[in-house]
Symmetry: C2
Subunit: 200 residues, 2 copies
């Protein structure tokens, strides 16, 4: 199969595009990493399939939805388990992380009042995240979520912790979740990921 | 591969389990369709991986997250496109439908004040849904979303329209989206789906 010509378009930040960047990078798949200034977005918006970024252009056709784009990148990178039950485990993990996105975006980008924001962060850090992470900690089967073999869920977990939780809530700690903390460290130590991170 | 022993557990309703039921049914995959009375949930909750229903037991191990369960069912039913770009199209469609879930659940199950509820329904039906469906309408490639071949995204679309939107908002109409309306009708006419629906 010929290598597709791929261009990922997003703002100049990590946000909803970094997971796809990590997956393409891990897979050694060349892609154009187009960064759009926020000021250009109003002009761009009407041309986008869903009026949103990121979008991915594959051989000239433009697709939207960050999760769909990440799945495509994961498939090309060989990070989607072929066994249906292994894929179910990875997907269960992935969906649980996605469930944290709503409250996180609400706190970070929609809650303007500082007192209200502090209260929401407290609930998120002391209740919401521990509830999910406590369950996920029990599912980790080894060096990575599925054991020895890296999957897209490991890179998604790394992205959620390093680029979202620790970015938005600098006091956030993984101390209570040693297996999950090890997954993050193991992803970070993967040579292609380490090389990518060292350039940032 | 031996047929896995599968049990789907949910409340006695469609909700977050019906898509998996439709996918297993379409795939001709036998599964135990366990329905739990609401009164039994408090006892069951602490035993569930994430404290939530639905769960799927596969050969004795219990997995959670409705989207992960539906993907597993879709894989077994042969409804996940093997071509990465076709899968990207189906996933883009699927993610756009999932984005409607948050506001829909908020309106139906969290908004108690009737005036507020009516206002939210108005915005949802007149703005939110048309924005998504207008974009999705342009993506439909034939009898089904991807053309001639049924995929999980078609069954998901059917479930969202028939079991969620039309159930929650009886006045909801697909009139403005003829291609999407045809997808719903074509799913309904699939012999295995038609047989399943006739028994309800």
């Amino acid at each position: 199969m010929a290598q597709p010509s791929v261009k990922l378009t997003y703002f100049d930040g990590k946000g909803r595009a970094e997971l796809a960047r990590l997956l393409f990078t891990y897979g050694g798949l060349p892609f154009v990493d187009e960064r759009v200034p926020h000021a250009d977005f109003p002009t761009l918006k009407p041309t986008l399939p869903l009026g949103q970024l990121p979008v991915l252009e594959v051989d000239g056709t433009v697709y939207a939805q960050s999760t769909a784009i990440a799945r495509y990148a994961a498939k090309l990178a060989g990070l989607c388990p072929s066994d249906p039950v292994e894929a179910l485990k990875a997907d269960m993990f992935s969906c649980t992380l996605s469930d944290l996105e709503g409250p996180f975006v609400d706190i970070m980008f929609k809650t303007k009042d500082e007192t209200e924001k502090a209260e929401k962060i407290k609930t998120f850090v002391e209740e919401t995240v521990p509830k999910s992470f406590g369950a996920l900690e029990k599912l980790v089967q080894g060096k990575f979520i599925l054991g020895d073999k890296l999957s897209f869920a490991d890179l998604q977990f790394f992205d959620v912790v390093e680029n979202k939780l620790k970015w938005g809530i600098p006091t956030f700690s993984m101390g209570a979740f040693p297996k999950l903390a090890a997954v993050v460290a193991n992803v970070k130590a993967e040579p292609k990921i380490a090389a990518y991170l060292s350039k940032q």
